[in-house]
């Protein structure tokens, strides 16, 4: 038994309490506490990932009770990737937030609480704890969206909360069906008894789980809270929600589908369904992004589309497809955070999130423009970047199993995204009409480096594919093995 996975949850939880007390202190203390805490969580995360790499999967049995009765936590090669994404994303996001603006009261504690919930979702080895952590995460996210209390925040937070509660209830009903049929909540034990479940009940539970997590990851038509929530939460939080939290729900969905529900053994048609859902998301997400003028909403719909790419890779139903999907997950974390963070500089310079007011931002904020350019190249899928490699692998995987139509969908999606990112560039590159002195905002160190690192990461995942792929292959094998 190893207690490391438990600390992944306890540390951010304790930090949330400390940060809540620290909220009474001055802004500098708050900031230092938040950054140091997030870095501590990131260091712990690296330790865990390292331990998994060296010793294989880590199991924790809380209170010393083994699985059918006790509560278990488990970190293997598959969820280690997502734990790494969460830990590093949290630290980078906190540094950026601390550099970009003052923390709103309650913001740092809620972010730590969200991180604790995220680690819980990733490490939980039984369905009920998964449910508890998903609910905790959705309450924290709703509070974070509503926190700034500006124009649309409270309404967007309420909307997210209602959808979160609804998705939580649907998930609980699915868990209840599974428990009723198999008599177990632990994922490993359910997997051993799932064949006893009558097909119709199985179908209902499967549909419930896909719908419940579909709300969280933004499956069309369950995506519509997303654009509003991201626009309200602000660029720095939206980067974390779209870049990091969405991947955590995706990881949970995949673990539940693969392991307790064993969709691979059950039917190949089910992975085909994932492929179809992914294709709808790719086309729908890109088309809706095309219709947006507000940069944050545009990026939100682009997230919807990219969940589609990931699902298409996974829905290919082959090992290669799964690896390609995971590869796209890693790329999407880097490119979406880079886009949201550098887009924030555009919005600040233009005084509006409307892309038509972006005249002159390229010369006013050249660094942010360069980062946005690199990240946009990645997200569209230009050759030297990771985005190209992962899309290419996804296309290869779906072509091998399902023929030409998914490849056409990917190509169409790429064309559409090229159109709308090109449009943003066109506005940004127009020199500002009036020679109004563009107040050169000083960019401090915390605000400067996380986007640069994310943009470098976009290039690195493409150039370093040789080192990244074996790692992802091991993760895919761990998911398949359960």
């Amino acid at each position: 038994m190893n207690t490391l996975p438990l600390w992944l949850i306890l540390t951010p939880l304790a930090l949330a309490l400390i940060a809540a007390l620290g909220d009474r202190a001055g802004p500098r203390f708050r900031r230092a506490l938040a950054v140091c805490g997030a870095c501590a969580v990131a260091a712990l995360t690296l330790t865990v990932v390292w331990a998994v790499r060296r010793h294989g999967a880590l199991h924790t049995m809380l209170g010393g009770w083994a699985a059918p009765w006790g509560i278990g936590l488990r970190v293997d090669d598959f969820n280690a990737i997502f734990i790494l994404i969460l830990g590093v994303g949290l630290a980078a996001g906190m540094v950026f937030l601390a550099g970009a603006r003052a923390f709103v009261k309650g913001e740092a504690p809620l972010i730590f609480l969200l991180a604790a919930a995220g680690n819980g979702i990733l490490a939980a080895a039984d369905l009920f704890n998964l449910f508890v952590f998903v609910e905790l995460a959705s309450v924290c996210s709703a509070a974070l969206i509503a926190l700034k209390r500006q124009r649309d925040n409270t309404a967007a937070g309420f909307q997210y909360l209602v959808y979160g509660a609804l998705s939580g209830m649907i998930f609980l009903v699915a868990v209840l069906l599974i428990y009723g049929a198999t008599g177990h909540l632990s994922m490993a034990h359910i997997a051993a008894h799932i064949h006893r479940m009558p097909p119709r009940l199985y179908g209902a539970a499967l549909a419930g789980i896909i719908v419940a997590f579909g709300v969280k990851i933004g499956l069309i038509p369950l995506h519509f809270w997303q654009a509003r929530a991201y626009a309200a939460a602000g660029s720095s939080m939206a980067a974390l929600m779209s870049g990091v939290m969405m991947k955590i729900y995706l990881c949970a969905l995949l673990r539940v589908l693969w392991h307790p529900l064993a969709i691979r053994q059950h039917s190949a048609a089910l992975t085909g369904t994932l492929l179809a859902l992914g294709a709808i998301n790719v086309l729908g997400g890109h088309l809706m992004a095309l219709a947006q003028r507000d940069l944050k909403r545009l990026l939100a719909f682009s997230s919807v589309a990219h969940v589609g790419y990931i699902l298409m890779g996974i829905g290919a139903g082959s090992e290669l497809g799964l690896v390609a999907g995971l590869y796209h997950v890693v790329n999407h974390v880097l490119m979406k955070t880079a886009l949201f963070w550098s887009g924030r500089a555009f919005i600040l310079h233009a005084g509006s999130a409307d892309e038509r007011r972006f005249r002159g931002v390229a010369s006013a904020a050249p660094l942010a423009f360069a980062i946005f350019f690199v990240a946009a190249l990645t997200i569209v899928g230009a050759p030297p970047t990771g985005g190209f490699a992962s899309k290419w692998l996804i296309a290869l995987a779906v072509y091998a199993r399902h023929g030409l139509w998914p490849v056409v969908v990917i190509a169409l999606g790429t064309l559409i995204s090229l159109t709308y990112y090109g449009r943003v560039f066109r506005y940004a590159l127009i020199p500002s009409a009036d020679n109004a002195p563009t107040a050169n905002r000083s960019v401090n160190i915390g605000e400067r480096w996380p986007p640069i690192l994310a943009a470098c990461g976009c290039l690195a995942t493409g150039l370093g594919i040789r080192w990244l792929l074996p790692w992802l292959e091991r993760a895919a094998a761990a998911l398949a093995a359960g």
Partner: protein, 128 residues
């Protein structure tokens, strides 16, 4: 028989909650609808634990059938989570009333649209 009645009751209550969640326009009514749906899940959990002629799952040493204690534990946790969610929803409702002066989602959506078009961006989404 008992159990089936409870299942049917749970399904009915769930449907009622879902129906009002989809049709009501007032935010507090939406909160009530969420609470109602939460309750239906609790009924279903209780139904799941039911065994014919079973006692409460407190081991006294006497022989006999016990009800399944696990769904009871789940129900307790679900109650706590439901309370937390509902209290946050109500707190947000108060904030929305303070900032927007209305709790009607149609009006809120129109206000959101106005704010968006004042910004020059495309129209907003459906608020709920």
């Amino acid at each position: 028989m008992m159990q089936q009645a409870a299942w049917i009751a749970a399904a009915l209550v769930f449907a009622m909650g879902l129906y009002s969640l989809c049709t009501q326009r007032h935010l507090i009514r939406l909160c009530v609808a969420l609470g109602v749906m939460e309750t239906s899940v609790l009924i279903a959990l209780a139904a799941l634990a039911w065994r014919p002629d079973a006692q409460a799952p407190i081991v006294t040493g006497a022989d006999g059938v016990y009800a399944d204690p696990l769904p009871h534990a789940l129900a307790l946790t679900a109650i706590v989570i439901g309370a937390a969610t509902l209290s946050l929803a109500l707190a947000l409702t108060i904030l929305i009333f303070r900032t927007h002066g209305t709790l009607d989602i149609e009006t809120l959506r129109d206000k959101g649209r106005e704010a968006h078009s004042a910004d020059g961006s495309m129209v907003g989404e459906h608020p709920l």
